[in-house]
Symmetry: none
Subunit: 362 residues, 2 copies
DNA sequence: AGGAAAATTGAATCGTAAC
DNA sequence: GGTTACGATTCAATTTTCC
């Protein structure tokens, strides 16, 4: 672990570069391999604009056998690099994920979960010929059935408003300022993953100081999030433009403080804090008006900690779901309110609470 | 289609029984194959009660190769039985779905979507060692890449509050009265699928009168829902207890009325009416001036139903495309004209026509 | 400046009836 | 079966432009 090229983005072919790294040197691997999309013609939106699809050479394979051989090779190397108790995450779509999963099983990986990344804002199906392809799949696997892999259960539970994190994650695409762009203002990389996805992956399955490998680094999301979260990374990428941009991105990233990095202890569950306790304590007065990020819906806080909006009344979660028509809703992150002229998330109450243990309402 | 054992639950081994059915006889197939779950020992809840998992003999395979061979055999038969434009649905979990999907692709099936069934009430992860396994995956595939498969897009959109249906479906498990039970009140089948799931599958990909095959019929959900929705079924099951229960279940089921079975029709299935027929009937006089929404271009209606603008002459579609430089154009929604002081879309002619069948111009 | 309307965009395997 | 021409089809989130 001494001569590892830590916290670097290595330039080279993925398989070849992995071969130069020592056995059992990685605590975790995140891999976003080519999807082998096999797009045929150009696709237009109903307004006649052309969809900018993935037509890069790196996503072209002659046939399934060629793709499988490539997949088997890099996955075998990945398994060799993983520590005995390490885990690997591989992301894909229906075009390739079945081949990925089957080959992983054949190589001896032990699948722990398949995770569905439900996209908040997927591209629609413009021709009305299929269901909106609104998700991608992550396979999370241990090196083998006997691995004592790491899973930060309590941290995941805390991230999910104190109920077990499910295998379906609802996260937005990488857009706006987060998306890296070239000199012409066009997206640098066609498939840049959102930081929120890597954040959850790393928090779930690694600890501070762990070494994370990304064999298909691309725009460097894994590397950047590893640095932010106090993990080490080894990233591999072959395209010089991506490497240059990713290095600048990592450079600009700052590591969080140890305090911020202290995740929920795995031993015992932190007492769940009901929303109503904040109202009781006057930290959020009854009568306060909450609204969502877009200010499309609003509701008023009642003295018992319920929300009222029109004829509806319910918990912060129920009301968020009801007013948006969603099956469920995390009220802590859904609602916002105004405080000292600023708009703040409801979740700030819990954040501040955890830093001030004297106000324990457990 | 004459000697098919329609609307019966056949007793026998799945592959062998399929072999006796003729090529291209099934419009749709729904398959819920064994999951190859490799549960090591009993699973206990925190209160020490035993979780009633899948441990039936039919779900045991020696290794991946054995499972793959079985899978390849029944999927090959399924493909033979499918009509040219038929589709197949296969459901699985991370234990087996990657092998299913890869083999389907190898056999020539063309995947249309992978659908995530998000369970409203999944079993929690009692040990806290993984994410709650809260979904199963359905693979929806056509017989091949050139299939003109059926997808009732408008019906799915209507089911989803008029936004197109996504690839993630949120549906409850099969519980309560819907769950078949034996004489002891215990669940009859370990993996009985909810009727809502089959309802959506059948409404999405079949029409009234279609023939649906279920090679792993189990508790008969596919057969029951096919009968209710006016589809024919051929079901295969080898376990006598399941067959008996499923036959009684189907018997008790009633077919909905034709009225209740009417779904939102797709526009492309409504008979076409040539634009010229409206001119012939005088519903739109020759000489009428058409213009686009922004009144940027205009054209005059000729007696033969063509449009003229400057030196150009052509159909409503060709002219719309030509005058805007677009590669194609739907003239019906592109053009407007003035009627009784109001600006109306050209498409109003077809709308009014369909409401006044006496004006039949067929 | 501020608010409203318009434009942009995303890992996409995205026609078919009629002649 | 091949060819031609019709004509169906989009959601959410940002960002940019317009008033």
């Amino acid at each position: 672990m001494q001569d590892l090229p830590l916290n670097q983005i290595l330039c080279g072919e993925c398989i070849e570069t992995m071969r130069a790294l020592p056995d059992g040197s990685m605590d975790c691997i995140f891999a976003d391999p080519p999807y082998n999309l096999q797009l045929r013609g150009e696709l237009r939106r109903p307004d006649e604009s052309v969809v900018d699809g993935v037509d890069d050479a790196w996503d072209k394979f002659a046939d399934y056998a060629t793709y499988d051989n490539f997949t088997r090779e890099w996955l075998a190397e990945a398994r060799r690099l993983l520590t005995k108790d390490g885990t690997i995450w591989v992301i894909g779509s229906y075009h390739n994920v079945f081949r990925l999963g089957a080959i992983m099983q054949d190589l001896g990986f032990w699948i722990l979960n398949d995770i569905v990344w439900r996209k908040a804002n997927p591209m629609p199906n413009f021709r009305g010929r299929r269901f909106t392809n609104a998700h991608e799949t992550l396979i999370w696997a241990a090196r083998g059935p006997e691995s004592k892999y790491r899973f930060n259960y309590q941290a995941m539970k805390a991230l999910n408003d104190d109920v077990q994190m499910r295998s379906d994650w609802y996260l937005p695409l990488c857009t706006g300022n987060e998306r890296l762009r070239n000199a012409h203002g066009l997206k640098l990389h066609p498939t840049q993953k959102p930081e929120s996805l890597l954040h959850r992956v790393l928090i779930a399955s690694t600890v501070v100081g762990d070494i994370v490998l990304d064999p298909f680094s691309g725009s460097g999301t894994t590397a950047a999030m590893a640095k932010r979260l106090g993990r080490h990374f080894v990233a591999i990428e072959r395209h010089p433009d991506y490497i240059e941009a990713a290095r600048a991105r990592v450079e600009a990233e700052t590591r969080l403080s140890d305090e911020q990095l202290a995740i929920t202890p795995a031993k015992r569950e932190i007492p769940r804090v009901p929303f109503g306790s904040f109202v009781e304590q006057g930290l959020l007065p009854a009568g306060t008006v909450l609204f969502d990020r877009q200010r499309r819906v609003s509701a008023t806080v009642m003295p018992d900690g319920s929300l009222v909006s029109g004829a509806h009344r319910g918990s912060i979660h129920k009301m968020g779901a009801q007013l948006t028509g969603a099956p469920s809703c995390n009220g802590w992150t859904f609602w916002f309110f105004e405080r000292e002229g600023e708009i703040v998330t409801l979740d700030i109450l819990r954040t501040e609470q955890s830093r001030a243990p004297l106000l324990n309402v457990g």
